[in-house]
């Protein structure tokens, strides 16, 4: 079980490392969404500061959504997924390895890119560590929940729109707590409770998620 975990984990990381273009595109997309936002309003610092947390998290949500499309696609096309499904190893462990590798390759980008963008929107420097913490706790949750929907829509043509419809309602808590913590930190309200809730959601998604992803993969493969 451990061997299968490491094998899948290393394989997916290696693939991600060799397709750096995809990661760069995702990062660029995220930067563009956030950077274009001020162009739609004005340069008033107070306005930008008020919407900065929401803009950041909407950028994250959209980027994660786009990355979900390809989550199982190549594995499905080259037959790897069929082998995973046939394998006697638990599918949930394989799913867990895949998700962690995917998060390390793509989700971690947000944690790194977020602070730079937030400085551009005028968020004070001392808020940034908390903001990175929420990104670190929130993005795995998004990936694990989103993967369930991605697995269900695996073989559907034009699944992208449907995927958004399925996952965005489930992303509401992460959006609320993620931007709420940053807003609280900016205006100096206590935010520790919300950080703990985000950590709890993260743990919940990582522990229950793989089982749901495994079940969804079996269903999606039949669809």
């Amino acid at each position: 079980m451990g061997r299968v975990f490491w094998a899948v984990f290393r394989r997916d990381l290696a693939i991600a490392g060799r397709q750096r273009g995809v990661l760069v595109h995702q990062l660029l997309f995220f930067v563009l969404v956030v950077a274009l936002f001020p162009l739609g309003t004005n340069t008033d610092q107070a306005v930008l500061l008020a919407v900065a947390p929401a803009v950041l998290w909407m950028g994250v949500l959209l980027s994660v959504l786009l990355s979900l499309n390809g989550l199982f696609q190549t594995d499905h096309e080259d037959g790897t997924l069929a082998q995973y499904l046939l394998s006697s190893e638990p599918l949930a462990v394989i799913a867990l390895a895949k998700m962690i590798a995917h998060w390390l390759a793509s989700g971690a980008l947000f944690v790194v890119a977020g602070p730079v963008l937030m400085l551009m929107l005028g968020v004070p420097l001392d808020v940034l560590p908390v903001m990175m913490l929420t990104l670190g706790l929130g993005t795995p949750t998004l990936v694990f929940i989103g993967a369930i929907a991605a697995a269900l829509t695996l073989r559907l043509p034009r699944a992208g729109l449907l995927l958004g419809l399925l996952v965005f309602p489930l992303y509401v808590p992460v959006l609320i707590f993620g931007s709420g913590v940053i807003r609280g930190a900016i205006v100096g309200l206590p935010y520790a409770g919300a950080v703990y809730v985000m950590a709890a959601l993260c743990v919940l998604a990582i522990t229950l998620g793989p089982w749901a992803i495994a079940a969804a993969l079996r269903i999606g493969f039949d669809a």
């Binding site: 829509t153 449907l162 707590f177 709420g180």
Partner: protein
């Protein structure tokens, strides 16, 4: 082939003991039996639905005195509250059916989800619309980003997600199982979404009806409301049952029992 018979004596004894129950359960799984029987059951949902809703509407509009603060506006609650109750009840029922569908692979549970989703979504929509109509004279605006309104809106999106997923997958079996899993994932999220939205903001008037502790409502106002809730629940069951019958006919449209029933009208 109802029950696979075992050879040892013990199995035979236990089989004869609960044979009746088991037979009923297995008969329920047979599509023609369910189709014919559900037509008879429908009347037991339709009659209470019509009576209770009629009583709730007439009593709510005519006999109940106007509220000392809100005047006549509050009368919309006889539609609003039962709709809101069913929006939650419907999704929970879908998730329970989802567990049944995934664990016991019962076809009827899958069909229940497919049939209940549009009905539940309609009630959620009704709750939102009546809430907006009530909000305009009371709060001065049709939409407020308050906790319960917002979670109701997200719930509507969850319903629409299930419906969209069901429509997108061509194979009925796979569509049913996919929706079953999505409903379970959704129902785990419903309380989390609700409490996150409550944390986000609270402006709504507190809940008036509670199971524990007394309700802050006069009995004259309360009885039509409870009747409305019961009537709407029966209506939900009735509509879902008919939806299931339609789903069943469509799914098995090429089988002999459907052909026979359609030929006979």
């Amino acid at each position: 082939m109802h029950v696979r018979l075992g050879h040892d004596e013990k199995t035979v004894v236990s089989l004869t003991m609960d044979k009746g129950v088991k037979q009923r359960f297995h008969r329920l799984g047979s599509s023609p039996y369910f189709y014919d029987a559900s037509a008879r059951w429908a009347i037991w949902l339709a009659v209470p639905a019509v009576i209770c809703i009629a009583y709730a509407v007439i009593a709510g509009l005519v006999y109940v005195p106007p509220d000392y603060q809100q005047g006549d506006v509050f009368r919309i609650l006889y539609i609003h509250v039962p709709s809101a109750w069913l929006s939650l009840f419907g999704y929970t029922a879908m998730a329970v059916a989802g567990v049944v569908a995934l664990v016991w692979r019962l076809k009827l549970a899958e069909i229940f989800i497919a049939a209940a989703a549009p009905v539940g979504a309609s009630f959620t929509f009704l709750a939102l619309v009546t809430g907006a109509i009530w909000g305009e004279p009371t709060w001065g605006t049709y939409w407020v980003w308050d906790a319960r309104l917002t979670s109701e809106l997200i719930l509507l999106f969850l319903y629409l997600g299930v419906i969209a997923l069901h429509r997108s997958i061509a194979s009925p079996r796979a569509a049913g199982r996919a929706c079953a899993l999505l409903s379970i994932v959704g129902v785990i999220n419903v309380p989390i979404i609700h409490y996150s939205v409550v944390w986000w903001t609270t402006l709504h008037q507190g809940a008036t009806l509670g199971l524990t502790g007394g309700s802050n409502m006069d009995a004259d106002m309360l009885w039509p409301l409870l009747a409305g809730a019961l009537g709407f629940t029966c209506l939900f069951g009735w509509l879902t049952l008919w939806g299931m019958r339609v789903q069943l006919l469509w799914r098995e449209r090429r089988s002999r029992w459907v052909m026979k029933r359609i030929a006979h009208g």
